[in-house]
Symmetry: C2
């Protein structure tokens, strides 16, 4: 590794050899690893007595959501109504939209339709959004369940404190919504290496205060839900009775660097072909560009992904369909035409670029699974 | 504007009001602007006596490719065989794959099938890739046409000099390919503000040398092709007889900052809704995150896109489905529930995130057009 200050120098992860004959770029899922990841997280949640409600935005696949449910997840989390619709059509019944849905216009009708066919719950962080949700489901046979979002340090969405959580809960009750709990996302656990456990403490403290405020206000607080892969099981315990990690199932370079997944936890790689070596001796170009790897890059990661077989190589520049990879002098380089394995920085937006997973076991393709909710960002 | 050193302080572009009732996030194309952009570039090429072969990776739409052809483009450029397949199925007949295609495995059969149904030409920058191409089309009724790629300063792909171009051309001829010309992509015209015209001079000089070398080697050099939006018409003249700009049709914030498109050239925007204002007074959150805007960001652009109606706002942090927008103190902020217009930094990967364009004229939706080649990155 090149030892750039603040970047990770962890050993490359172990990944299975690629199957033969792939048309590249391709997303290759290692089902053995994925099943192990699913089992580990489910066992960890079970042993701590908390429910697991994985965020399926990572994989957007009905088959992988079912795999998580089969391993013991209670239900799923989604980020958009579109993901909820796809998962509902796939037969999944217990769905939490962990997002401050603004349900006006076309979204009001979509929300009402979903609410009529599955066990839906939705996030809310303002009285105004609560009013929209209430209006959207007016006339439903049963109340729509909501969880109040509280910010625990990510500074993205969610109310700022427990008093504000109670105000939103009361506003929600006033418009006929059923407040069942509180949730947070400790996204600040992604910011620096090793930040996960401290962010988990923030999640626990913040959720506990909000839950207490709601209980004091006469609410029955059924769900106290924390969520991210870096905070993961660190948040499971005490008042928290549900966790919502997502990335743990497939793994990525960022989670590995953060210490949030084990070295054998990379369950998805990108297969790419070296298409050009013409420009310079210290550069190879592969066919996985910005429309495959995306330009997602944490401050502590050098380049736009890593090649486990060429740990010194740096994916330095991305174009739509080209990645220019720098090969430091004296280190091995892949040859023209070689198919290489790339571990992406952040798996979620990479999956979004594809229509299907090539599913493998021990280096053999055993299926092609659709990425059912790809493109469902609304 | 906040005046960060090295970032652009250009005035916000003029964009039409959004149509009512959009489900967000949505991609909204302004057909009046797009037609004007198409006409301007076609007229510019015509008046300089060069062919226009736009790169359709920007929009991936058969309808928009046809619009370009109807305005005078000679054919189209694509970046992948998948894009070529979609455009061929859409009835487009003259297709150049401006990419160093490595045609082994599944790609060999796909290339041969395309070659049998459309007027295909393909890029090549090594004798090895030429050998693969030749093998892929063995037995075809007519030779596959290729253009030798030469690097003019982008340092991405393409041979390093005219001698190397001649060597690749001879290798291609030896395996039965028909060498019809040379091409380059002056991608270094994107690197700094105002770099386009100088990069265009590099394109012209490099292509002229390569064309001379091929002519001296006995080749009939029919196509001398330069290509990018920043170099655009600057490269059209002298030896260059074809240009391949792409982004000019839809426009984006980067091209505007580079001075490569006019202030009225933004033909695509993202519509997004403010879903949360709970965390802090100086922040609003909209529902266009990294899976919509992408994390593409040139060094000279602050944030992940711009809001023409709120020119001081900075799209500071992107999550999968959230954008956290900083509102500097004392400047106006959009209200909760407001639908805002965002001009993306780089339009090409943003289009990739969607299945369809909402097509508008003067603020009214007149159609929904599929993004036919979305996801066809191989």
């Amino acid at each position: 590794m090149t030892g750039v200050p603040g970047t990770t120098t962890a050993s490359p992860p172990s990944v299975a050899p690629l199957p033969e004959g792939l048309d590249t770029p391709a997303l290759v899922v290692d089902l053995d690893v994925v099943e192990r990841n699913a089992r580990r997280m489910a066992d960890g949640a079970l042993s701590r007595g908390v429910a697991l409600r994985p965020h399926v935005k990572t994989h957007k696949s009905v088959a992988l959501a079912r795999l998580q449910l089969d391993h013991g997840a209670r239900g799923i989390t989604v980020g958009t109504l579109g993901e909820a619709e796809v998962m509902a059509r796939g037969g999944i019944r217990d769905i939490f939209v962990g997002y401050p849905v603004w349900a006006d216009g076309p979204k009001a009708a979509r929300l009402a339709a979903l609410h009529s066919i599955v066990d839906l719950s939705v996030g809310v962080d303002s009285p105004e959004a609560a009013a929209q949700l209430g209006a959207a489901v007016t006339g439903s046979e049963r109340p729509l369940r909501v969880l109040v979002e509280i910010d625990s340090g990510a500074r993205r969405s969610g109310v700022a404190n427990a008093d504000a959580a109670l105000r939103v809960a009361m506003a929600a009750r006033d418009v006929g919504l059923l407040v069942i709990g509180v949730f947070t996302h400790g996204g600040h656990g992604y910011r620096t290496l090793g930040a996960g456990p401290a962010a988990a403490k923030d999640e626990i403290r913040t959720l506990a205060a909000a839950a207490d405020a709601l209980t004091a206000g006469g609410f029955s607080v059924e769900a106290i839900s924390a969520g991210s892969t870096p905070t993961g099981l660190h948040a499971a315990g005490g008042p928290v009775n549900e966790i919502r990690p997502g990335t743990y199932l497939l793994g990525d370079r960022q989670q590995l660097a953060l210490g949030a997944i084990p070295a054998d936890g990379i369950g998805l790689v990108v297969a790419a072909t070296v298409v050009s070596t013409a420009v310079a001796l210290d550069q190879v170009v592969v066919d996985a560009g910005a429309k495959t790897l995306t330009k997602d890059r944490a401050a502590f990661l050098e380049g736009f992904g890593m090649l486990p077989a060429y740990p010194d190589a740096v994916i330095e520049r991305l174009f739509d369909y080209h990645a220019a990879i720098r090969i430091p002098s004296g280190t091995p380089a892949p040859r023209l035409g070689e198919v290489v394995t790339i571990v992406p920085n952040h798996v979620c937006p990479v999956v979004e670029q594809f229509d299907e997973f090539m599913v493998s076991r021990t280096g053999t393709i055993v299926g092609r699974w659709p990425i059912d909710a790809r493109g469902r960002s609304r």
